[in-house]
C-alpha cells in the first residue's frame, strides 16, 4: 500500500508558486510547419479554402501544437521530473486560430510526499486573450 502526505513547502517550492510562463504567437507558417513535422495534414489546419466550409470558418492550429507549448513550460521548470515520469492530463476547450497568441501558465496546486519522493501537481491553462483553450494538470517528481 502506498502512503501519501500533503506538504505546503518542499525544497524551496511552495503550493501556489507560479511556473514560468510561455507566450507564443501563432501564424499559418507555424501551423504549416507543425503539419509537416507531425504528418498531420488535416485540411482543417492547412487549407484555408477547405477550412471556410467547416464550423470554424478558417484554419485552426493542431491541439497538440498547443500541448508542445505546455511541454516547454514544464521542461523549463523541471526537466527531469517532466521528461522522466511526468504525467499530463488536459482537455481541449476551444480552437487556436492563426493570429492568436497562446499564453501558457501554471501553478503548483499540491505537493505530495509519496513512497518514492515528492511530487508536484500543477494546474495548467492555455489562454488566447481571455479565453481558456486548454485546461488540465501535470504531475512531476521534484
Amino acid at each position: 500500500m502506498s502512503n501519501t502526505e500533503s506538504l505546503q513547502h518542499y525544497n524551496g517550492l511552495s503550493v501556489g508558486d507560479k511556473l514560468p510562463e510561455v507566450i507564443q504567437a501563432i501564424d499559418q507558417t507555424m501551423i504549416d510547419a507543425y503539419a509537416d513535422a507531425s504528418g498531420d495534414i488535416n485540411p482543417l489546419h492547412i487549407d484555408p479554402e477547405f477550412a471556410k466550409t467547416t464550423f470554424f470558418g478558417r484554419t485552426i492550429a493542431h491541439g497538440l501544437l498547443t500541448l508542445a507549448f505546455v511541454s516547454r513550460v514544464l521542461s523549463k521548470w523541471n526537466w527531469n521530473g517532466w521528461a522522466y515520469g511526468g504525467e499530463l492530463n488536459v482537455a481541449f476547450l476551444g480552437p487556436v486560430y492563426p493570429g492568436d497568441t497562446v499564453r501558457v501558465s501554471g501553478e503548483i496546486e499540491a505537493l505530495e510526499q509519496r513512497d518514492d519522493g515528492v511530487y508536484a501537481r500543477c494546474q495548467l491553462v492555455c489562454h488566447c486573450a481571455d479565453k481558456a483553450v486548454v485546461k488540465g494538470h501535470a504531475i512531476c517528481k521534484i
Binding site: Y34, S38, D40, L64, A68, S75, W79, G85, L88, F92
Partner: protein, 141 residues
C-alpha cells in the same frame, strides 16, 4: 471515399491497432518537431548518459497520433482530451510501436465518444509513453 473506421464497428476491449505500427525516431523528425514548436529546451541540444540524442517528451503527440492515423474515423472528429505519462524520452535511432485499446464508448449530447488507452514501446519492448485519448467520433454519412 468511405474507408474510415465506423463507430459501430468498435467494441470496448478491442485492440485498435493490430499489429502496432512502427515509427522511426530520426534526427530529421526530431529537428523538424523542435523547430516547428519553437522549443529551445537546453537538454534537447545535448546527448543523454548513453551518448544518444533525446527527443522532446511531447514528440509523443507525433508518434502516438501517427499510429492512430493508420485507422481514422470519419471527417469532423475532434480531439477532446489527452493524457500522457512519459516514462522516459525517446532517443534518436529507436523504433517505436504504439498499441491502442478501446477503453470506453459512450454517447453524450448526440455525439459519439471513444476513449482509448495507448502504450508506446521501443524495439526492445521498453515502455516509453502511455496515455489515454478521448475523441469525439465524426458523423458518418
Amino acid at each position: 471515399m468511405n474507408d474510415y473506421v465506423k463507430y459501430g464497428s468498435m467494441n470496448e476491449g478491442d485492440n485498435f491497432l493490430d499489429p502496432p505500427p512502427a515509427f522511426d525516431v530520426t534526427e530529421n523528425v526530431v529537428n523538424k518537431y523542435i523547430a516547428s514548436t519553437n522549443d529551445s529546451t537546453l537538454e534537447l541540444t545535448g546527448l543523454n548518459a548513453t551518448g544518444k540524442r533525446i527527443a522532446p517528451p511531447m514528440l509523443a503527440a507525433v508518434y502516438v497520433i501517427d499510429a492512430l492515423r493508420t485507422r481514422v474515423g470519419p471527417p469532423g472528429g475532434i480531439h477532446a482530451k489527452q493524457q500522457f505519462k512519459f516514462h522516459r524520452p525517446a532517443v534518436i535511432g529507436e523504433t517505436l510501436f504504439t498499441s491502442a485499446v478501446v477503453l470506453k464508448m459512450y454517447e453524450r449530447k448526440g455525439r459519439n465518444y471513444v476513449e482509448m488507452t495507448t502504450e508506446t514501446k521501443n524495439q526492445h519492448g521498453e515502455l516509453i509513453t502511455s496515455g489515454m485519448i478521448t475523441r469525439i467520433w465524426g458523423k458518418e454519412s
